[in-house]
């Protein structure tokens, strides 16, 4: 697949010479935790040490990649070539780029390099991941891609001082007290001060996941038994009074919880430090991070789906978080997922939310929507399902922990009733001029919106249970669905409503031509 067009300006570029080092470090980083575990248990099973030899081929591969990967810019596209015997040449038109992420760890910042991740709408993986490039190259790349977008948009004056550099320049400007030399068209939409980061750390409570993972790992490697955990702990309890046991247990739990909270706070603070969401022409740009700096760009029109999340803690703090979905790159894990999807606006007040939503779709206001709630039959079905699950779970527990497990029914049934009642109150949909909105959830509430020009297949589903009540559920499929943890799948609609709503949505979708961009 070759193109007759010669490279516009750029000659072929290599990755930065330090890239094998950074990539090898990346592979090694993944092995740190297993390494600790193996080191701890190694006396008994020394063969496990040899597993680390598996890292050697990946290091060799990174060196090979450094010598084979080349990229350059042609008109309106970027070309990435790799391979030695089997060449692969990939052309990525700028206009197909869904989002661009730049990442810089502390070490990379010292070396003046950064990672670039280009995503198009296609399938699973980012179209191109370039690890690592020198910062001037990255700046040039950014400039070209965005310049192209601006030519296409033809309304925003070219602005070369964007990206993380721009912030430093802004500070310089402030120091000098002189007016900015270049016209800065960036408009700051959201900035998270340290206090907001603390709140976010509380809400996210990342540590919990880490503890669960650690416990899983401990089971996996039989660490409890290797360290005779129970034997070591037993003496503490052997001659203890019950007061002492209660104190010990409560103290351990509290201390553990405090540690988790601290971890979460610190993690959030470092990761999202100085979080900024700005609007630059038709793009949204995100920047954050203290040691590892992230910078992402989401073209406005690539946003397929908008989702607002509100946990109990969010409500206690009078805030919500806003996520957006763009197409492509679905299968990436949580940590690798494009940051723009994870944290479009991690913590906003209701007022800011209104502004942001209007920024994404002018004229759209979530408060102004005319919500259609669930009727009595739907609520009854929700309640019945919750009760059934609660009883099933209690029966299971009763069988497992005979006979006291059955007592769980005293907690599960009221919980099921409360959960279904709350869910029934919140569940609603709204069909507005530009698209469809759906909200659901009992304690963690999610409100999502998609638009006629972004919705794909509209489908109605009828389970045998639905049929008994002459009901159906309506699903609206979008590109890249699921990354925000919510989908538009409206249950318990009466047949007539589901049918006419489905037909209207399909007609409106057909009339509004789908645009990736």
């Amino acid at each position: 697949m070759t193109r007759s067009e010669s490279p516009d300006l750029s000659v072929r570029q290599r990755l930065h010479p330090s890239s094998p080092f950074f990539n090898a470090a990346r592979h090694l980083k993944k092995l740190i935790l297993p390494a600790i575990v193996v080191f701890l248990v190694a006396q008994a099973a020394s063969w496990e040490r040899w597993l680390f030899l598996f890292v050697v081929p990946s290091i060799l591969y990174e060196i090979y990649r450094f010598f084979t990967v080349r990229f350059h810019f042609a008109t309106g596209e970027m070309v990435v070539r790799d391979g030695w015997l089997f060449n692969n040449e990939r052309h990525i038109p700028f206009e197909r780029i869904q989002n661009i992420d730049f990442t810089q760890t502390l070490l990379q910042r010292w070396c003046g390099v950064a990672e670039v991740r280009l995503q198009t709408a296609s399938g699973q993986e980012p179209e191109a991941v370039l690890r690592v490039l020198a910062v001037p190259v990255v700046e040039e790349m950014r400039r070209r891609v965005f310049e192209f977008g601006e030519q296409a948009g033809a309304e925003v004056p070219p602005d070369l001082t964007t990206g993380w550099e721009s912030r430093e320049r802004e500070f310089e400007v402030e120091d000098d007290g002189s007016p900015s030399p270049a016209p800065v068209s960036d408009r700051l939409l959201l900035h998270l001060p340290p206090a907001a980061l603390m709140k976010l750390g509380l809400i996210k409570n990342r540590g919990l996941g880490l503890v669960l993972a650690g416990m899983g790992l401990a089971w996996e490697f039989d660490l409890w038994e290797r360290f005779d955990f129970v034997e070591k702990v037993r003496p503490w309890f052997s001659d203890a009074t019950w007061q002492r046991i209660v104190l010990l247990v409560a103290g351990t739990v509290l201390a553990g919880f405090a540690c988790l909270l601290l971890f979460s706070l610190v993690w959030t603070f470092f990761r999202l430090y100085d979080f900024r969401l700005t609007r630059h022409g038709d793009d949204f740009r995100l920047q954050c991070g203290m040691t590892t700096r992230l910078s992402a760009t989401v073209p406005l029109h690539r946003i397929q789906f908008v989702s607002v999340q509100e946990t109990v803690l969010h409500r206690a703090m009078g805030a919500v978080s806003l996520q957006v979905e763009t197409a492509g790159g679905k299968s990436e894990g949580e940590e690798n997922a494009s940051m723009s999807r994870r944290w479009f606006a991690p913590l906003v007040t209701p007022g800011q939310l209104t502004d942001l939503v209007a920024e994404i779709r002018p004229g759209l206001s979530l408060e102004g929507l005319d919500w259609q709630g669930l009727d009595a039959v739907g609520r009854r079905r929700l309640r019945r399902r919750a009760l059934f699950l609660a009883l099933l779970l209690s029966a299971g527990l009763a069988l497992l922990f005979r006979p006291w497990g059955g007592l769980a029914i005293a907690i599960l049934v009221p919980y099921a009733l409360l959960h279904s009642a709350r869910e029934g109150m919140f569940l609603a949909f709204s069909h507005f001029a530009g698209g469809i909105a759906y909200r659901s959830g009992a304690f963690t509430r999610r409100t999502s919106v998609t638009f006629h020009d972004k919705s794909q297949v509209i489908s109605l589903h009828e389970s045998p249970f639905d049929r008994r009540y002459a009901m159906a559920s309506l699903h609206v499929d979008t590109a890249g669905a699921g990354t925000a943890g919510h989908r538009i799948q409206i249950p318990y609609l009466s047949r007539g409503v589901a049918k006419s709503l489905g037909e209207e949505l399909a007609t409106q979708a057909e009339q509004a031509a789908f645009r990736w961009s």
Partner: protein, 215 residues
């Protein structure tokens, strides 16, 4: 486009309305009893049913025949035959205590009946339940015997299409139409058992509609 403004006022569930106005939502294209709903062999169109302009169409009339053939072959060769041989051997050689042998035989007969049902009856039901039509906004597909689905695929959302023909399908002049969208849950929608020429016809019509939509 029929729209019921009254019905749109909520998730609104009203028994009266269900019984009078929407007697057969998914069944709209089908006649009331299953016997008369199987279309005449020479036509793919379903008589009666929906009032809208484009009629719902049924699959290839020999779809049931092909499905039964495939299903019987698979269950017969891989499940029924080995089970029969094992059970016969078990009885003739006296393997296992009598009670287990009896239970195994019972289970075997039960499974055989179930498999016979899925091989013989289910294809007919699936055939009766599956309908499609090209309407104003694109392709609509109804399918599912117990868990029923109506898919509305707007013409402008078709990314690309495949027409698949297996060797057996070719003998029966059938094909599977696969339509790819940019979606996630329905990234590709399959319609199996179409008459071959109809599959190509639908493909051409869908593609003709998308020609002017630059993605």
């Amino acid at each position: 486009m029929r729209s019921e403004k009254a019905g749109l006022s909520g998730f609104g569930f009203e028994k009266e309305q269900r019984l009078s106005e929407e007697p057969e939502f998914l069944e709209a294209a089908l006649a009331a009893d299953p016997e008369s709903s199987s279309p005449p062999a020479d036509s793919h169109d379903v008589p009666g049913g929906d009032q809208e302009a484009t009629p719902w169409r049924a699959l290839h009339p020999r779809y049931v025949e092909l499905e039964r053939l495939v299903s019987w072959t698979v269950t017969g060769l891989f499940l029924l035959l080995p089970a029969t041989v094992t059970l016969t051997l078990a009885w003739s050689h006296g393997w296992l205590p009598m009670i287990w042998r009896g239970l195994a035989t019972g289970a075997g007969v039960g499974a055989a009946l179930l498999l016979a049902w899925t091989s013989q009856v289910y294809p007919q039901k699936a055939f009766e339940r599956t309908r499609y039509r090209l309407s104003d906004f694109g392709l609509e597909i109804r399918k599912g015997v117990y868990w029923r689905k109506v898919l509305s695929l707007p013409r402008a959302r078709v990314q690309h299409t495949d027409v698949r023909e297996g060797p057996l399908q070719r003998r029966y002049e059938m094909a599977t139409l696969v339509i790819h969208t940019a979606g996630t849950e329905n990234a590709s929608v399959e319609l199996e058992g179409l008459p071959r020429d109809v599959a190509f016809e639908i493909r051409d019509q869908l593609l003709a509609g998308t020609a002017d939509d630059a993605v």
